[in-house]
């Protein structure tokens, strides 16, 4: 029993680590889509940021410079998406996919050109990473039943970016529902005409939203390469951008439900890792592939059947053209 509890605790603990990039990306997507820009390029932005962060960390040995580089690259791509979709009213899905494909190839090409390791970046030492922060007293409390486990395992011992990600959720909520920017953001995704006639620039708002989106994807990518791992590996995002997008839709474009959806996907992922090699009576060991596929299968099932009526922002995906 205690063993099971401990395993569960470790799974939940792992959930936070796995869900961090999902949460960040989901919030990024939320800003974009609330403003009326569909962003299927979350994946590409995150991948580009991961590469930029790992490359800068390898060269400068500074985690903070790496974070800055990750965010800068991601914001640049977000603005490129904006330039195509907002200024030139291009198709938002096409632009997003183009960014994903571009980044997927470009990171490998640049990686080979700069580091000659088959597309990987050199491993960086802990001084150039975001490493786990142990909260005061975590060691001492570790053996206290229940509370000790919760405190030392769940709360303490994550790296800075995990905490940042989960603080960004209430921050996003506050921005979207309690600030002027949020009011306008919600309005521009629903009815850009209303915003335009109120004397506010539709493009300006959408660019600002893309900026927020880029920043958050940048943090997510940085987390992947120099906090969760210690180097960039080709295609290391492995579809997490899409899962984040799914989680955001699952959360009906609202911050807290979107975060919960991310945690659910994260938890499945964490459980899948724990289940590897577990022998089930009669059936025998569960095939690794099946377990690895579980989160994706569940994503499809949940999205297809359980999401209920998800009403997207009305103007989402539609370029704004002034009347006539």
């Amino acid at each position: 029993m205690a063993d099971l509890l401990f395993n569960l605790l470790l799974s939940v603990d792992a959930t936070f680590r796995v869900a961090t990039p999902l949460v960040l990306c989901a919030m990024a997507g939320l800003f974009a889509e609330r403003s009326g820009v569909v962003d299927i390029g979350l994946e590409g932005k995150m991948l580009a940021a991961a590469f930029a962060a790992a490359a800068v960390a390898a060269v400068t040995n500074s985690a903070w410079l790496a974070l800055g580089a990750g965010m800068a690259v991601s914001v640049a791509l977000a603005l490129l998406h904006g330039f195509a979709c907002i200024t030139h009213r291009g198709d938002q899905v096409v632009s997003g996919v183009a960014i994903n494909i571009l980044v997927s190839g470009l990171t490998v090409v640049l990686g080979i050109a700069w580091f000659a390791r088959g597309g990987q970046t050199p491993s960086v030492g802990n001084e150039a990473r975001f490493t786990p922060i142990n909260w005061p007293g975590a060691e001492a409390l570790a053996d206290v039943p229940v509370i000790g486990g919760l405190y030392s395992e769940l709360l303490s011992g994550h790296n800075l970016l995990v905490y940042v990600a989960f603080l960004i959720v209430p921050l996003t909520w506050w921005i979207v529902y309690r600030t002027r920017f949020g009011l306008r953001l919600r309005a521009v995704g629903e009815n850009p005409n209303a915003v335009d006639t109120a004397g506010i620039s539709v493009s300006g708002l959408r660019y600002a939203a893309m900026g927020c989106c880029g920043l958050l994807c940048g943090i997510a990518g940085t987390y992947l390469s120099i906090a969760q791992n210690a180097a960039f590996v080709r295609d290391m995002t492995a579809g997490q951008g899409y899962i984040a997008l799914a989680a955001m839709i699952f959360g009906k474009w609202r911050p807290v439900p979107a975060m919960l959806a991310c945690l659910m996907f994260g938890f499945l992922d964490a459980v899948a890792i724990r289940l590897q090699g577990v022998v089930v009576p009669v059936i025998g060991p569960i095939p690794v592939q099946l377990i690895q596929a579980l989160p994706y299968v569940l994503t499809v099932v949940l999205l297809a059947g359980f999401i209920g009526k998800a009403v997207a922002p009305k103007a989402s995906g539609i370029p704004y053209v002034k009347e006539r």
Binding site: R184, A187, N191, A194, A198, G199
Partner: protein, 530 residues
């Protein structure tokens, strides 16, 4: 009365000499490519007056107001607000010059509350809490001063249209508008809501607000305005004091020729029953009965009009009868052939039975925008032997056919090769009508025959519908325009929430009675009328 055409611009500027005019436009020009939407337009609006601007679709009214509200910039010309030159490049400039606009299509965010909608773009700070409090207080004051009641916490999308319009007016007033422009404000309102709106406008005028009312409805101009300006073909044709003009003169100015506003038609010669509807019901996906157990009949040689505020099941009824939607329960008979949930009517079968259908929304279901006119003119009849050879279609026959229809129905320009989208709304509608009428149908189902159509074309379309009736066809007319229903129909049925709530013979109908029935507020009428 002098010839209205020879009103010169000096006259225009001499209107309202006591105080500087609230709005003065001088020689405004605006072109879109080769189209000159506004040509040397001058306008002077007295402060504290209701000034009507009337004109056909495409006369340049909306362009002019869009220039005033900063949507477009004029190519040349001057704008003076309260006697001072103003540069208006954006809506923001217009708002700060004290101009507010109530658009034809409301500019509301449906899933936000009334308060949020009103303060959008005019928040008092970066954090909403204080803005909301300020907006609420100001809103209460405005509601008190102008007696504009709206629940500030209701979601904008949940409000009825009349209330949504008030929110739009409040939005403008909240931004300190002293000049209020209303673009076709009554298109979506019931007659009662229209009366309420006019009362609101009157009280705004008493408080010193200047109002510009854009419309193509002569009745409204006569009912509320102090002055009226007429536009035609991008030019300002005339200015009148409303008290010194009349509908006939204004209609003539708008169209450029004499227009018969009332339709002379002989008494109907009703024959055998062509359409009999019995307990027809349609339930939509959400389980809402859109058409609820309706029964009525239409006989040859009569026009039956279906009145109702848009969205009360008329569209669905028309789609059921034309085989576009499947029937849920009940059924109907066309020329004695019965259709029901188990025996579906499809549009091809419908045409075989000589039933013609002019759909409500010509661009969605009547025409294909990107087709040449000649192609649009055979849609639905494209299997006809006259248009087809053994393998290929007969392009020449189709073109010839379209050219004939264009001459018969005065479609301009009469060019069968021109893309459908490049015709004006009225000409597109004439093309659809030509296609459907020219085969002598036994029954014509027609929805909103004159939506977005100019007054001149309306006259033409109405005449053709009556001519069809006189030739012995049955006509079922669905329209949200009461004037149209009243002038065309021989019998009027009123729909409310999917049910027929009353039937009135045309000669007994008046606007007030129909309006009350449309809002389902009429006193119970005896069945004798039906």
């Amino acid at each position: 009365m002098s010839d209205p055409e020879i009103q010169n611009q000096d006259d225009v500027r001499s209107l309202g000499t006591d105080a500087p005019p609230a709005i003065e436009l001088r020689d405004i020009n605006k072109s879109f490519g080769p189209v000159r939407a506004n040509k040397n337009v001058c306008l002077s609006v007295k402060p504290g007056a209701i000034h009507g601007i009337i004109g056909e679709n495409g006369a340049g009214k909306s362009t002019l107001m869009s220039i005033l509200y900063g949507f477009y910039e004029a190519d040349s010309g001057e704008i003076l607000i309260g006697g001072k030159p103003a540069t208006i490049r954006s809506s923001r400039d217009a708002i700060s010059a004290g101009i507010g606009m109530v658009h034809q299509h409301f500019m509301l965010v449906d899933n936000m509350s009334v308060v949020e909608n009103i303060m959008l773009g005019a928040e008092s700070g970066a954090i909403l809490t204080s803005s909301v409090a300020a907006a609420r207080a100001e809103l209460e004051r405005l509601e008190r001063d102008y007696s504009l009641d709206v629940d500030p916490d209701a979601l904008a999308g949940d409000l009825p249209v009349g209330q949504q319009q008030r929110v739009e007016i409040l939005k403008a007033l909240y931004r300190g508008a002293e000049i209020l422009i209303l673009d076709e404000p009554t298109g979506v309102l019931t007659p009662q809501e229209t009366d309420q709106l006019f009362r609101i406008l009157d009280s705004l005028r008493k408080q010193g607000v200047t109002i510009v009312l854009i419309t193509h409805k002569l009745r409204e101009i006569m009912a509320v305005t102090d002055d009226v300006s007429v536009m035609r073909g991008g030019e300002m044709i005339a200015h009148r004091e409303t008290a010194q003009t009349n509908k006939e003169e204004l209609a003539e100015l708008m169209v450029g020729r004499k227009v018969l506003l009332s339709l002379d038609k002989a008494a109907p010669q009703a024959g055998e029953t062509v359409l009999a509807v019995e307990g027809l019901t349609f339930v939509d996906k959400a389980g809402v009965p859109r058409v609820d157990n309706i029964s009525f009949s239409v006989r040859a040689g009569e026009i039956v009009g279906i009145a109702g505020v848009s969205g009360n099941g008329q569209s669905e009824l028309l789609e059921l009868l034309s085989g576009v939607r499947p029937v849920t329960a009940g059924g109907f008979s066309l020329m004695g052939e019965r259709f029901s949930a188990s025996r579906r009517l499809d549009p091809a079968k419908m045409r075989d039975l000589k039933v013609a259908h002019v759909p409500e929304d010509r661009l969605r279901s009547g025409l294909v925008r990107t087709f040449a006119a000649e192609e649009s003119a055979v849609l639905g009849y494209h299997r006809d032997a006259a248009y087809n050879g053994a393998v290929f279609t007969k392009r020449d026959a189709i073109q010839q056919d379209c050219a004939t229809k264009m001459t018969d129905f005065d479609v301009r320009p009469p060019n069968p090769k021109l893309k459908t989208a490049n015709f004006s709304g009225g000409n597109q509608q004439k093309l659809v009508l030509a296609r459907e009428i020219s085969r002598d149908p036994r029954l014509l189902l027609v929805g909103q025959p004159t939506r977005g159509v100019d007054i001149g074309a309306i006259e033409f379309i109405h005449r053709n519908i009556v001519a069809m009736r006189d030739a012995g066809s049955a006509v079922l007319l669905v329209s949200v325009e009461l004037d149209e229903i009243m002038s065309l129909s021989d019998r009027i049925l009123v729909m409310f929430e999917g049910r027929i709530v009353g039937e009135v013979p045309a000669h007994e109908a008046d606007e007030r009675l129909l309006g009350l029935m449309m809002a389902n507020a009429a006193p119970e009428r005896s069945e004798a009328a039906g």
